[in-house]
Assembly symmetry: C2
């Protein structure tokens, strides 16, 4: 290989600093998931192709990465192309594998089943800023219960995660039943998916283009006119609710949606946790949602797009033969959260996992002595290391500086004889202070 090696487009290497930051995000989310009773699940990167196809729409199907058949299987496929070149494919999201898992293991699971899953997914999308071919999803779902307490809990969970990350956010909420009611009172209930899909783009393309898309999809002029009041709604939840109750009085499904939203707003209000905001134009593109829908936006930084999403679905597992399993789930967009935290300077200065102390290397005898001290320091829980070679001191200091190690321990012949360590803080214009290894541990563990 003559040229410098590279990686496939749309994929990324994550070096140490990015990794420590990503781990900080993942660990925060994971700890909160666990605190709320969600348990971990991992599914294979590869699924049977038939498990995935037909679940993400036509466009989605084209974006699935397929795994090439091998050996005799591939030969047979080349002779008879109707057999296809792949039996397996890389997972496209975590929701379909979750549904597959629930159906496959339904007899072993205890319902309601609360699981979280943090794994990469792969999509053959055209790579662009903020859009990758491999990225992590962080999902939590509870399946097997229709209780609205789950919605309340997930709003609290959003709040808990972002409080811990130190980021101000707004949780936007709507209910698909309200959108269905609107389609109903406008006389085109059968067009609800087209209407929702168009409204979902409001933020990006504006009202005029939303109406144009509805027109193209065959929504009638009178229906488009009928939907119009939706765009003019504003004010508090109570205000908007009163207007919607009146407007959608003839739709039982819309009334149920409003009642459900009232419960969530009431409970969240009593708990005084998240900033919850009703957004009647919030639609979410995915067509399996049937109840509440969520979106989280950062109130700080310049990112316009949402950093989390979610909603309730009534029939996620039906496609695999298990009917009547209602559930609700949310997903954290780790890459976008990373970008916002970086932009708003919210990452902690010292991330867990970085090395705290470097022992300089002065030669074999000193190194051997340092290995013993090192053991003591590590046993106290301090991440520490010995520079492996007895090179010139400036080189060793450069190593510490570039690796972001805050302290260097100098143990030359005289320190060895006196049984002390000279501790030097990097960046400080000081010679360092001689002290016992216990004192070093004391400084590094407080």
């Amino acid at each position: 290989m003559a040229t410098k090696p590279s990686i496939p487009k749309g994929t990324r290497d994550f070096g140490p600093q990015e990794m420590l930051r990503r781990k900080y995000i993942f660990n925060t989310i994971e700890r909160v998931f666990q605190k709320y009773g969600y348990l971990p699940l991992e599914t294979p990167a590869m699924e049977h192709l038939e498990t995935l196809t037909g679940k993400y729409g036509e466009e989605g199907d084209r974006l699935i990465f397929k795994v090439l058949k091998r050996g005799a299987e591939l030969e047979r496929a080349l002779e008879d192309r109707s057999k296809g070149f792949a039996d397996e494919a890389l997972r496209y999201d975590l929701t379909v594998p979750f549904a597959r898992y629930v159906v496959q293991h339904q007899n072993d699971l205890v319902f309601p089943f609360k699981r979280y899953q943090i794994q990469p997914v792969w999509r053959a999308d055209r790579p662009q800023k903020g859009r990758y071919r491999e990225f992590y999803q962080c999902d939590a779902d509870v399946i097997g219960s229709t209780s609205l307490l789950s919605e309340v809990e997930l709003v609290q969970l959003f709040d808990d995660v972002f409080t811990q990350l130190g980021l101000k956010v707004v949780v936007k909420v709507n209910d698909r039943k309200v959108l269905s009611g609107i389609a109903e009172v406008c006389g085109q209930p059968e067009k609800v998916v087209d209407i929702v899909t168009a409204i979902d783009k409001l933020d990006k393309i504006g009202r005029e283009k939303v109406e144009e898309e509805m027109r193209e999809k065959g929504v009638s002029e009178s229906a488009i006119k009928g939907i119009a009041p939706l765009f003019d709604l504003n004010g508090s939840w109570d205000d908007q609710r009163a207007k919607l109750e009146q407007w959608l009085a003839s739709s039982a499904v819309a009334q149920q949606g409003l009642k459900d939203l009232s419960f969530t707003f009431g409970a969240v209000g009593q708990l005084k946790s998240a900033v919850l905001e009703f957004d009647p134009t919030l639609a979410r593109g995915l067509d399996y949602y049937t109840g509440a829908i969520f979106e989280v936006k950062a109130s700080e930084g310049t990112l316009q797009s949402s950093i989390c999403g979610g909603g309730r679905y009534d029939d996620l597992t039906g496609v695999f033969g298990l009917k009547g399993m209602s559930g609700v789930g949310i997903s954290f967009g780790a890459d976008r959260i990373y970008d916002v935290l970086l932009e708003t300077n919210k990452f902690p200065a010292e991330l867990g996992g970085s090395t705290q102390l470097l022992f300089a290397n002065f030669g074999e005898a000193e190194a051997m002595h340092c290995l013993k001290l090192l053991r003591q320091v590590r046993e106290a829980g301090v991440a520490a290391e010995l520079y492996p070679d007895a090179t010139k001191l400036p080189k060793q200091f450069t190593y510490a500086e570039k690796k972001g190690i805050p302290y260097v321990a100098i143990v030359g012949e005289s320190e060895m004889q006196q049984g002390v360590v000279t501790l030097k803080r990097m960046g400080a214009n000081e010679k360092g202070t001689a002290m016992s290894v216990e004192a070093v541990i004391g400084i590094l563990t407080t």
Copy 2:
């Protein structure tokens, strides 16, 4: 889909209990990696096919999962098969992507570069007991230094991890230079790879078959006879070293190997850490090793195969155009460690991450009250949840039991009025005790 869904053969779903156990292993290893100054790295699941091919031998190349081209690319490949059906492939191990990363980012890295990497790899191996098509590797490497202190550190690291996991192990060590010396004094230095590959199988196939394999590979009878003393070596490191020094007196490379091993034995002895055992027949199949080689075996349980491996390589990055980078690395076999810990009953009874407390649900008013208590309990760091539906109590208890939740909080009307919680320990034949929520937190956080 009429039939019950399934997953590709050789792959696995990891449900909550397995996941918590796996996380316990991964987290233990990761914490130790960090404590020793190794920093995290993640590389993409997909690499350019050319990055991977030719690195794992002919057999390995056949086992690489390739990613099918899409759209027009696939059409062109079907017209002209010489183009191949794949440009990308799934990573086969973590070592080649690591080497690729080091070369690609050589100007940004600070050497010696210490990284760890915990990610799945994929191999189209025939699945069988203990062999999977998707499995995790946990690697730590230091590259850019020839210091034997790294070897010493990695032995300590093995010891640290298994001490924390509570598993007794033996770290077996040898040096490729000693094996090269043997091939040299037997008159067939050019056959060293064949000799090493055969000796590597000693544990599995026995001495006779090892000699047979050497014969098949063209190793001469006199050389095979010359190697024989190797199989009869025994005793302490010092005993064996003396015999080897004499036997291999004419080989400079062997003498260097023995000197290096002496350093490692000396240092590990002084540190009184690991149980280190010299095994002159330890060979490790991988042909990039050039110095020390390691293998860890459990001293408990019935598993015969090794649970970790590793060694020093002098030219891992040369294939990508960066010469002269010596390094040493180790790899933990998480699946095997899992099996041993399960067999020897070493998993902690309570694994981090499981739910500690379930609030029973008695209806809307009580549930609302419980949500507030729940918030308090979670803020104290206790993983807790509210049963989402106000179903019959036995069903809620069954849920707690099956999910392994140790405590249930009963807050009915009377508890609500008195401002208490009735705490019931699962499995205990008791009615439960009324107490303040602070007392509950006290019990669950000690």
